[in-house]
């Protein structure tokens, strides 16, 4: 298996995932080592809901302080609405969206999302797992990835 193939594979898997690297690089040393890579893949492909929640929360918690703050939400959602020319304040919709999300997920009403808040909301409604943007591979690309990898097992053996 050559580099190109691997790149194609991971591209395929991670095309939706913006903060992939940060999620994988646990020790923050700036590169993903083998165990980090394996761990990451495990979450991606075989992760339980808990593992996935944990992973997603870490991705969403941009500054790593254990909370998803309003500002972080705003940042993540700012491109989620189509700009409408008639709107006076294009940010207003985003702000509103953040408020809606908080209302839905912030169970202790402290204006930010703790992991507990997040977990509770996701358990109520699994759709909210990737509430602030896609960060897990969608099942289709996951399947493609797997077929690709398992097909290439023979390549491994050949080597």
């Amino acid at each position: 298996m050559n580099r190109k193939k691997l790149q194609k594979l991971t591209d395929n898997l991670t095309k939706n995932c913006k903060h992939l690297f940060r999620g994988f690089d646990k020790d923050n040393d700036g590169c993903v080592n083998v165990s980090e890579w394996i761990n990451g893949l495990s979450v991606f492909l075989r992760g339980s809901l808990e593992e996935k929640m944990k992973y997603c929360f870490e991705v969403f918690d941009l500054n790593g302080d254990g909370f998803i703050s309003k500002e972080e939400m705003f940042h993540m959602l700012k491109n989620s609405l189509l700009k409408q020319p008639s709107e006076e304040d294009p940010d207003e919709g985003i702000k509103d969206l953040v408020e809606i999300t908080l209302k839905k997920m912030d169970h202790d009403h402290d204006g930010k999302l703790s992991f507990a808040d997040y977990e509770k909301a996701v358990r109520e409604e699994t759709l909210l797992l990737e509430a602030f943007g896609p960060c897990l591979p969608d099942p289709k690309s996951q399947m493609e990835f797997e077929t690709q990898v398992f097909k290439d097992l023979t390549d491994f053996n050949d080597m």
């Binding site: 989620s80 809606i100 509430a131």
Partner: protein, 1038 residues
């Protein structure tokens, strides 16, 4: 400015005061024009710009004080202009948020500062100052109207020398010019919208054609196009004329005036020069005024037309309504409709036309504008306002400046509107509801509207958030359901189903599933084509998606059209396929986000099939798709929420014969019986219903017994609270008790006593079944005794006065069954039950008649003094005899049986003979129905006992057909016939007829029958015939 603002600007709520400007393109246009006017004012008329208004223009601004720079004294919350008036007051004063401006200069300056929010500020200003002219110039100017204004101004100038007044005048004239300009401008705008287009013209003409022809009643003698060729854009005018916006030319022959050659163009309808010569060329030149449409034009031209039209309007409200609706939708969607390809050209043309009109004759032109504008205003308001007669009324008064023509047109519009809204309630139902929702919009409405906006304009992340948030509303509440629909949410939700985003689809379905509990929403979903999409989702690899889709289909498919749609899009097969999932017992735990258990999928599939199975064709489709074995397999599971839809589906389907066979074959009964013991009443109910449906078949009844189903049924009778369950259970008992063995079991379980207890205070559905069951049970002596002992006869007889057909059939049967017991009969007689039964012979339903007649037989047989009793019913015997004229075989057979019993009494036999029973019976003789043959023959044999009836039967040719009865396969028929022939053979002529028809040989065979009575009768008959033969021989030789 005033006129344009009051009339052409589209205010949200008619009437003055708190109204706000609607954000329509037209209003925007007007506001822009005003802004341009004000901004240029300062350059064009610097002197006038300094003029201080009589009163300041006040409104609430969004502008921050910090936005003001040089030339202003700015503090934190207030701004004053450095420019002051004579008294030292600042010409602009802002104290957040209110602002007061007192000169055009400041106004222009302010707009300059406002920059991007100019439009908004201008709008706020106009909204805040409904009569700016008065504020600027003083009240005397507000009084002036249109044409008189110029005169007034001149007057003022000549009488007054005050320099300030001069400026005032100048400003007044400038404002007046602006006003005209605005009107012109909005007119341009409006005129684009109200253009006729080929479609409406065509509709008009088609409609008129339908009401044209010879005769007084029609609206026109004829109306036809000059050209048969229709271009693809719908026009019939030649292309070079289409450039001028002309659509087609029509030749109209009204009743009272000469033929008219009319041009229908996008601008309106007008008279043209007519055909110039034989070749059919048309003089395209306009020869008359332009009218807004064909009908208006013709109404003006022909009195007969207008008179007949109004008459036709009443007759053809339906068409009119459609037409008007058509126009309504047209008008609503007018903007994108550039009626004709050469629209640019047209526009120019039109502007010219309008301008010349305006300058030449201001008055009529204004009228026209106002008229059109008003109409436009109403129509564009989403047809909602139609209902509010009050609102229309109000805006009318606001606009009526005593111009007759205007008012007339308003009245007319109002008339047509009220016409269209009152016509068909079905169609109007929906706007109606929107209306209510509008009446007091709850806060949810706005929140939902906002969410739908995000659904529309967001990427998938935003969409998912909006969907989740929407799900938190109380979607079971109608306001929310309708709110989602009214803000256009349904379309978006259904569109989402068509995307590739799994999460969006799931979220959308979760909402659709909830709101589709509302019948209106169901219809909307079907109208929007939601079902095919959902059916497609059933193929999705994600199980939770499949589940949700199936559940939503289950909700939507509650009405016929939806069920048909599901079937036509192949939904049934897919739903049946869902049932197949629940096979692998060893499932991995939720492997992915979108997985659920297979059982769940099957459950949802069954749920959807249940809804669908209410249509006959769907039942067929389910069977063809192999649904029955799958349902049978699912029936073996023990999940209640799975079993209910499964049994529900089976119960629906069991109404079909081939289903019942399949159900038997699949050994489903066993499981149904098992589930009768469940705790869940709903499940019990559906099982009982299914048994009720299936137990028509004898084998099934035996199966129910063999699987021990009778005991749970009997014990369920004690649950009298749940009426649906009770109805189902009693139904099952009724059908099961058709088998004798089952009846014995029921007696063991004391079910009969319980059933008698259920004869009172129950809904009809229960009563029908209870009485039916008792009717079957009372075929046995023991049970009849039990019924009597439990006091069941009285309530049964009481039920004879009901009106429910099914109930009456069962009650008469039960009463008849009871009457077999003489002791029971005594009670029935005492309760006057026979009279009640007798009166049921007059019931219009043949089933009831027949059943009553059958019931009368045992009554007459077992009553004491039966003959006396029968005679006591005035007109009763005549009634019975006349029933022989019925054409229902069952009625005839039953009445024959009754006559047999009646005729046992000599006196009564005499009476019915007088009523002509013999010819009537004879007429029936030629029948092939064995049941009728038997009872007919019995009746004949009874009736022979009186006077010369034997001879009469012979005369009415009843004998020969009777002989043929002997060829039947039914021993009962044989016996009865032989007895009848025996009686008839007392008459010599009859013997001859019998002999001629080969009776002797047939009867000889009967003599060898094991049936004693038959033997005897046959032998008797033969001996009669033989004796006659001997006598004749004897007579010959002596």
């Amino acid at each position: 400015m005033g006129v344009a603002l009051t009339r052409s600007a589209q205010w949200t709520a008619a009437g003055y005061g708190t109204g706000t400007l609607e954000s329509t393109p037209l209003n925007e246009e007007i506001l822009k024009e005003i802004i341009v006017f004000v901004e240029h004012f300062i350059y064009k008329y610097p002197h006038e710009a300094k003029f201080v208004f009589v009163e300041p223009l006040e409104w609430n601004t969004d502008l921050e004080p910090s936005a003001f720079e040089s030339g202003y004294i700015v503090s934190e919350t207030t701004v004053k202009s450095e420019e002051v008036d004579k008294n030292g007051q600042p010409l602009l004063l802002l104290s957040v948020p209110q602002i007061k401006v007192r000169s055009f200069g400041q106004l222009a300056h302010f707009l300059f500062i406002a920059k991007d929010t100019k439009l908004k500020e201008a709008q706020a200003c106009i909204e805040g100052n409904r009569d700016p002219v008065v504020k600027i110039l003083g009240s005397e100017f507000g009084e002036m109207k249109e044409d008189s204004m110029a005169l007034n101004i001149l007057n003022k100038i000549s009488t007054d020398d005050d320099p300030e007044n001069e400026i005032k005048m100048k400003i007044a004239i400038l404002l007046k010019q602006l006003d005209l300009h605005l009107l012109n401008h909005s007119l341009k705008y409006i005129s684009l919208q109200i253009n006729l287009n080929p479609k409406t013209v065509k509709k008009d003409i088609e409609l008129l054609q339908r009401f044209s022809g010879k005769g007084e009643q029609t609206v026109l003698e004829s109306i036809e196009y000059t050209s048969d060729y229709e271009f693809t854009n719908g026009c019939r005018a030649p292309p070079w004329r289409q450039m001028y916006g002309e659509i087609c030319y029509v030749l109209v022959k009204p009743h009272d005036v000469e033929a008219l050659c009319i041009t229908c163009s996008a601008e309106g309808v007008f008279l043209n020069g007519g055909k110039t010569d034989e070749e059919g060329d048309i003089d395209y030149e306009r020869k008359g005024e332009v009218y807004k449409d064909l009908v208006t034009f013709l109404k003006e031209k022909s009195a007969v037309f207008s008179e007949n039209m109004s008459r036709q309007e009443n007759i053809s409200n339906e068409e009119q309504k459609n037409q008007i609706e058509e126009v309504l939708t047209k008008e609503e969607a007018a903007v994108p409709q550039k009626a004709i390809s050469s629209s640019d050209r047209l526009k120019k043309n039109h502007i010219n036309f309008v301008k010349t009109q305006m300058s030449k004759r201001l008055e009529p032109s204004l009228n026209w504008r106002a008229k059109v504008d008003f109409k436009d205003k109403n129509l564009t308001k989403d047809s909602q306002e139609e209902k509010h007669g009050g609102k229309v009324e109000k805006s009318r008064t606001s606009i009526s400046h005593g111009k007759v023509q205007l008012r007339k047109s308003v009245d007319k519009i109002e008339e047509t509107i009220s016409e269209s809204s009152s016509e068909s309630e079905e169609d109007e139902e929906q706007p109606d509801h929107r209306q209510e929702a509008n009446a007091d919009l709850p806060s949810e409405y706005w929140q939902i509207q906002k969410l739908v906006k995000y659904l529309k304009g967001g990427n998938q992340t935003a969409t998912v958030i909006a969907l989740c948030s929407m799900k938190d509303f109380n979607l079971a509440q109608e306001t929310c359901q309708l709110a989602i629909r009214d803000v256009g949410g349904l379309e978006v939700l259904i569109n989402l189903l068509d995307t590739d985003e799994v999460k969006c689809k799931i979220g959308s379905l979760k909402i659709l599933k909830e709101i589709s509990h509302n019948p209106q929403i169901r219809r909307n979903i079907v109208d929007l084509g939601g079902l095919p999409i959902m059916v497609n989702i059933l193929d999705s690899p994600y199980k939770s998606l499949k589940c949700l889709a199936a559940e939503t289909i289950a909700n939507v498919a509650k009405f016929k059209r939806a069920r048909r749609a599901v079937r036509q899009h192949g939904g049934i097969t897919k739903l049946v396929a869902l049932l197949d999932c629940a096979q692998n017992a060893t499932e991995p735990a939720q492997s992915s986000l979108y997985e659920t258990r297979d059982v769940e999928v099957a459950r949802c599939g069954a749920l959807a099939l249940w809804s669908c199975s209410k249509s006959y064709s769907n039942k067929e489709a389910i069977r063809k798709a192999g649904g029955i074995p799958l349902l049978a397999r699912l029936l073996k599971t023990s999940h209640e929420n799975m079993l209910i839809p499964v049994v529900g589906t089976l119960q629906e389907c069991a109404s079909e014969e081939n289903y019942r066979a399949a159900i038997k074959a699949e050994r489903i009964i066993e499981n149904l019986v098992k589930n009768l013991n469940s705790e869940n009443e709903q499940l019990q109910e559906h099982c009982a219903m299914a048994i009720y449906q299936c137990a028509e078949d004898e084998e099934t009844r035996d199966l129910v017994r063999l699987h021990g189903g009778l005991k749970p049924l009997a014990s369920l009778l004690n649950n009298t609270k749940n009426k649906e369950l009770l109805a189902a259970v009693t139904g099952a008992i009724w059908k099961c008790s058709i088998s004798k063995e089952n009846v014995i079991k029921f007696r063991e379980y004391k079910a009969i006593e319980t059933l008698v207890g259920l004869l009172t205070d129950q809904p009809e559905e229960v009563l029908v079944n209870v009485v039916g069951a008792l009717g079957e049970c009372c075929q046995e002596h023991e049970n009849r005794v039990i019924v009597r002992r439990c006091g069941g006869i009285q309530p049964l007889v009481n039920l004879l006065v009901g009106i429910n057909q099914a109930l009456l059939v069962n009650v008469t049967k039960a009463v008849g069954a009871c009457a077999v017991e003489p002791e029971n009969m005594a009670i029935i007689d005492r309760l006057d039950g026979v009279r009640l039964l007798w009166s049921l012979l007059k019931n219009p339903h043949p089933d009831v008649k027949a059943s009553a007649a059958w019931a009368l037989c045992p009554c007459i047989e077992n009553a004491k003094d039966a003959g006396e009793m029968v005679r006591s019913f005035v007109g009763g015997l005549e009634l019975v005899v006349n029933l022989l004229k019925s054409d229902n075989k069952e009625v005839l057979a039953s009445v024959c049986a009754a006559i047999t019993n009646i005729a046992k009494d000599q006196e009564n036999l005499a009476v019915i003979t007088d009523h002509g029973v013999v010819p009537l019976l004879s007429k029936l003789a030629n029948t092939n129905n064995d049941n009728l043959r038997r009872h007919l023959a019995e009746a004949v044999s009874r009736c022979c006992m009186w006077g010369r009836n034997r001879v009469a039967f012979g005369e009415h040719r009843a004998v020969a057909p009777l002989v043929r009865y002997l060829k039947s396969n039914d021993t009962n028929v044989h016996r009865a016939t032989a007895q009848a022939l025996y009686q008839l053979s007392e008459d010599a002529d009859n013997c001859i007829t019998m002999h001629e028809n080969g009776a002797v040989k047939l009867l000889l065979d009967m003599v060898g029958s094991p049936d004693q009575e038959l033997q005897e009768a046959a032998a008797g008959c033969i001996s009669n015939i033989r004796r006659l033969a001997l006598a004749t021989e004897k007579a010959r030789y002596t």
